[in-house]
Amino acid sequence: MDNLRENEYDRDVVISTCIHLTRNLNGIPFPARMSRGDRLTVVQRAKEAVEENKALAHILRYIDMEGLSKTEAVSLVERHLVSADFISDCSGRGVFITDDESLSIMVNEEDHIHIQAYLWGLNLENAYQKADILDDLFNRSLHFAFHKDLGYLTQNPILLGTGMRASLILHLPALHESGGITRLSSNLSKLGLSLSGVYGAGEAPKGAVYQLSNQVTFGLSEQEAIANLKSIAMQLVHQERGLWEELVEQPELQDAVSRSLALLQSAKMMGYEEFLQLASNVRFGISTGLIEGVNSDQLNRLMIAMQPATLTLRSGRKLTQNERRILRADQIREMLKK
C-alpha cells in the first residue's frame, strides 16, 4: 500500500484511511433482486469497462469469487479488499484489485459497483482522489445511475446522494481503557458519524482499534463530508492524546508496554487476539516515546499479515491452529527483532 502521508503528528492515532463509493447501472435490478444472469451481466460489463480502458486494464486484476477457497476469500476481507458481507455469498460476485492492494472494486455487493481506496495514515484527500478517478473511468463505459436531485441511486436509500463512505481506522487505547467509547459513539451518531470496533463487534473490541465513518451522504458534497469527518477525527485524536500525558507517567503502564514488546520479541506461539492486545500496548509505547527501535509501520504490516487466513494463505500450506501460532510467533519475532 501507498506510503504517502499528510502528517506525521496524526499518524500515531490514525492507522489508515478508506474511501468507499457505491454505484449502480441503469436497467439492471439491484443485487437483492438480481437473477444469476443479471449478476453475470454486470460482471461482464465491468470486465468490458476495464478492457476498454487501457489505464484500468493496466492496473486492475480480476478475481472471480466463485473460484476461491474459503481461506482465500477470508484473506481478502482481512486485507480490507472486500467486505465480510461480500464473502457470505460468493455466487456471481467478483472483485478487481491493484497489485499494491490499495484499490479494489467489488462487483455485485450491496450495489453493482463498490469502489474502495485504502491508504495508510490520515490520507482522506488522496484516497478520495484515487476512488474518484476510478469512478470516472468506470463511468465512461458503465454510465452510472444518477438522478439530479437524489444523486447516485443506491439499493439502500440511506446511501443516496454521494454514495460515499469515508472511514478512518483509529487506535484509541486511552479512550478504550477509560470506558468512554460508548458515550462517544452515541454522541457521534447524533452528528451523523459512527464509531465501531474493528476486531470484534461486541462491547470490548480487541486491540483498541476503531473505525470512524460518515453516515450522511445526502445534501452535502464529498469534500464537505470529508472535511467534517476530518475535523471530528482531529478532535478524537486530541482527546486521545490528552489522556496520554498522565498515563505515560504510570509505572504500571510503562511496565505493561515493555512486557508487551518483550513478549512479541520472544514468544514461541502467538494467537491473533493476543497479538492485537500486545501490539496495541506497543503502539501506545511507540506513540508516546516509551519504545524506540520499533515503528508503527511494522505493526501495521503485522496487523494485516498475522491474521489467520492471510497467514495460512501466504505459508502456502494447510496449517493447524498450533502450527499457525508457531508460524505467527516466528514472523513477529523476525519483524521486531532487536
Binding site: 447501472l25 436497467g27 439492471i28 435490478p29 439491484f30 437483492a32 433482486r33 480502458n53 487501457k54 489505464a55 493496466h58 477470508v74 482481512e78 465480510a84 457470505s88 474518484d132 478517478i133 469512478d135 470516472d136 473511468l137 463511468n139 465512461r140 445511475a145 438522478h147 436531485d149 437524489l150 444523486g151 441511486l153 439502500n156 436509500p157 440511506i158 443516496l160 446522494g161 454521494t162 460508548t182 459513539s185 452515541s186 457521534l188 451518531s189 451523523g192 459512527s194 465501531s196 470496533g197 463487534a201 461486541g202 476503531y210 473505525q211 453516515q215 450522511v216 451522504t217 445526502f218 445534501g219 452535502l220 458534497s221 464529498e222 491473533y272 487476539e273 489467520p308 487466513a309 495460512t312
Partner: protein
C-alpha cells in the same frame, strides 16, 4: 428474534465481521446497534422502513398494482425489504419514496459529484498520468484518432493546471 447484545429488543441489523478467521454475524437491535457504532440514519430513527412508513400510511397499502417495469418490484416489496429494486424504481415510485427519503435525510437535495463531473474540474496529477499512459498505449496500438483526442485533452488539462 431478539438482540444478541441486550437480549431484549427485536433485531434490526445484521453485522457481519471476520473475527479470528471466521465469518461471524451479530444480530443487534436498533439501540445496541447505535450504542456499538453500527447504527445508521435509519436506526437513529428507531427501526426499519416498514415501521417508518407505517407512520406515514398507517398500514401497508392494500392495492399494490403498480410494478416497476425493469425489476418487477412493487412499492410494498421495497418497504418490506428496505431495498429499492433498481434505478428505475426511483422513477416509478418517486412520489411515494420522497417522503421516506426526506424523513431519513431531511428536506434537501444532492449537492455532490455528478457522473464524470470531476473530470472537468482541476485535474489531479494522477489523472494526467493515467491519461498519458492511455496516450502511450493508443500510439503503440496505432489508434491515432484516440491518441490525438487524448493529446488535446492532456494539453487542455495541463494548461488549466498551470494557470491554476
Amino acid at each position: 428474534m431478539l438482540c444478541e447484545s441486550c437480549g431484549k429488543n427485536p433485531v434490526v441489523t445484521h453485522v457481519k465481521r471476520i473475527i479470528n478467521g471466521k465469518l461471524t454475524e451479530y444480530l443487534l437491535c436498533a439501540e445496541c446497534a447505535q450504542r456499538l457504532g453500527y447504527g445508521n440514519l435509519l436506526t437513529e430513527l428507531g427501526g426499519n422502513y416498514g415501521s417508518l412508513l407505517g407512520e406515514f400510511f398507517g398500514e401497508f397499502e392494500r392495492t399494490d398494482l403498480v410494478r416497476c417495469e425493469c425489476c418487477g418490484a412493487s412499492f410494498n416489496d421495497i418497504v418490506r425489504s428496505g431495498k429499492v429494486g433498481c434505478a428505475e424504481c426511483y422513477r416509478t415510485f418517486y412520489d411515494r419514496l420522497i417522503p421516506l427519503i426526506q424523513r431519513v435525510h431531511g428536506n434537501t437535495k444532492h449537492r455532490g459529484k455528478m457522473p464524470g463531473g470531476s473530470m472537468i474540474k482541476t485535474p489531479p496529477q494522477e489523472q494526467l498520468s493515467l491519461m498519458r499512459r492511455e496516450l502511450r498505449e493508443a500510439i503503440r496500438t496505432e489508434n491515432f484518432e484516440q491518441a490525438a483526442n487524448l493529446r488535446d485533452r492532456i494539453k487542455e488539462l495541463e494548461g488549466g493546471e498551470r494557470r491554476g
